[in-house]
């Protein structure tokens, strides 16, 4: 009987994994089929020469270049704000917080994780309105406010994965370096974080993906359809997810819709590139700490 149960379980789990992989390849395949044909320099740079666009000599009005730079700037800004805060908070909860503080703080992080992105967007919008009233004519929806709102959105991912990864380390591993004369900080830096670096990076990758794809937050806090390449933290910006949403909902013909698929492919490529970069950094950091790849 237990043998049959084992088999059913194995078949069910394998089936679930297959459905997932099939779904993933179907989505990617569909995107490639629809978007590959339009992927060229014109899609990205329009009729502006590539060098001129890259050197910001001429503005690109009919290509994705501003949206790509806007998306990258947004991810870098949001992650730049969320990473130090999230990692430090996760470490605090796992290593330093007392039982009661940990319970209260964890509850707050869970609540934060459950807030829909549109609500975070509305919060960002409220902040914008407040700042606009405090500094009339100087603060508008912009890259900075979108970055802060997105950082707020992805903080729980980073905090929870860091906390869970550190708390999963066995007690014996925690004592090893201490027994050799390491301080608490040395133990954290040389042993605990390297031990769970892969898990922490998994959380960071998840957060990067969320920053790259979220549309609700940026729609209310700074993204515009024709802002051009962002030149300041306090300027409006374009972003790929908004372009995809906007084009898919208001396209005038098949070629315009296909450009949205092209944009989706580029967004997928940016995410993949950033994931690879995150894992490369993990390997580099690991090697510097003496952890073989």
């Amino acid at each position: 009987m237990s043998d049959i149960r084992d088999r059913v379980m194995a078949v069910y789990c394998t089936g679930a994994a297959l459905v997932l992989v099939t779904g993933l390849f179907t989505i990617i395949g569909f995107l490639v089929i629809r978007g590959y044909g339009v992927l060229d320099a014109t899609l990205v740079f329009g009729d502006v020469p590539v060098v001129d666009a890259l050197l910001l000599k001429r503005q690109v009005f009919n290509g994705l270049f501003p949206a790509i730079t806007g998306t990258l700037a947004l991810i870098i800004l949001a992650m730049g704000l969320a990473l130090p805060l999230g990692l430090a908070s996760g470490i605090y909860l796992a290593e330093y917080a007392g039982r009661r503080t940990k319970w209260i703080f964890s509850l707050m992080v869970d609540i934060l994780a459950g807030i829909p992105s549109i609500v975070v967007g509305l919060f960002g919008f409220s902040i914008t309105v407040f700042l606009h009233n405090v500094f009339p004519g100087r603060i508008f929806p912009c890259l900075m406010i979108s970055g802060v709102a997105l950082a707020f959105l992805v903080l729980p991912y980073i905090i929870k994965t860091t906390q869970a990864a550190l708390e999963a380390i066995p007690g014996a591993t925690r004592l090893t370096a201490l027994s050799l004369g390491a301080s608490g900080l040395e133990n954290l830096v040389y042993v605990l974080i390297p031990t769970c670096l892969s898990d922490i990076v998994a959380g960071v990758v998840l957060a990067i993906g969320r920053c790259a794809e979220d549309t609700a937050v940026i729609m209310l806090t700074g993204v515009v359809a024709t802002a051009g390449v962002p030149t300041s933290l306090f300027a409006g910006f374009q972003a790929l997810p908004f372009y995809i949403y906007y084009t898919a909902s208001e396209y005038a013909g098949p070629s315009e819709l296909n450009s949205a698929y092209g944009a989706a492919l580029i967004l997928l490529g940016i995410c993949t590139g950033l994931f690879v970069l995150a894992h490369w950094i993990r390997l580099r950091v690991g090697r510097r700490m003496g952890i073989p790849g």
């Binding site: 014996a172 090893t176 370096a177 201490l178 050799l180 004369g181 390491a182 700490m289 073989p292």
Partner: protein, 244 residues
Amino acid sequence: METKNRESRTKIKIRDLWFSYGKRSILENISLDIPAHTITSVTGPSGQGKSSFLMVLNRLWPEIDGARARGEVNIDFGDGFEDINRSGADLARIRRRVGMVFQAPDPLPMSIFQNVAFPLKLLPKTRRKISRDALFSKVASALKQAFLWEEVKDRLDDDAALLSGGQQQRLCIARALVLNPGILLLDEPTSSLDEDAVHRVEQLLLELKKDKTIILVSHYTDQVKRIADQGLVLRNRRLVGHGS
């Protein structure tokens, strides 16, 4: 005669030691002397505080939630007895001088070389500055002492986690030896080793006791008989046996 005097010198003096985890008492009223350059075995049924006893001697217990020790644990590090259990004691210094090997092999998430070199990197800045050659020499020496050099000399940069259980345990012994501690605490160090490796570790301990004081928790009566100079038996939280 000189050897006799050397052996009879007391290295550790424990007086009225009590140890508990929260409200659970683990050790009560332990008082004993441990001579230098001997192997002292600690035996007794499971859960009687043998590992906790070692953690007191390495002053590792403050790292465990709810652990508390009171009483005197005087150790002669060469400049007179020092109570390592007093508040304000330099924990890092004590732990560097009292090496510890745990029951389960616990390689750090580093290469084989880095694992053994790790304690040297923790030394205060003034003592940490050694040349690459000197560092390599110290690591190689520790690995040779632990009978592991021949097996790993060609793959020192490999992940330590790739070693077999027995190799990992000998790596942990090498790591404890690299700082040349005067006291070595071993918590069932041969429990995951094969017969040949057990024999090698026992020979190593007999060799090491010439200039170290060794305290060995072991479940193996034969092993205790083979290598221990004196034995401690812990039962019902108390020291019920102490002698040669």
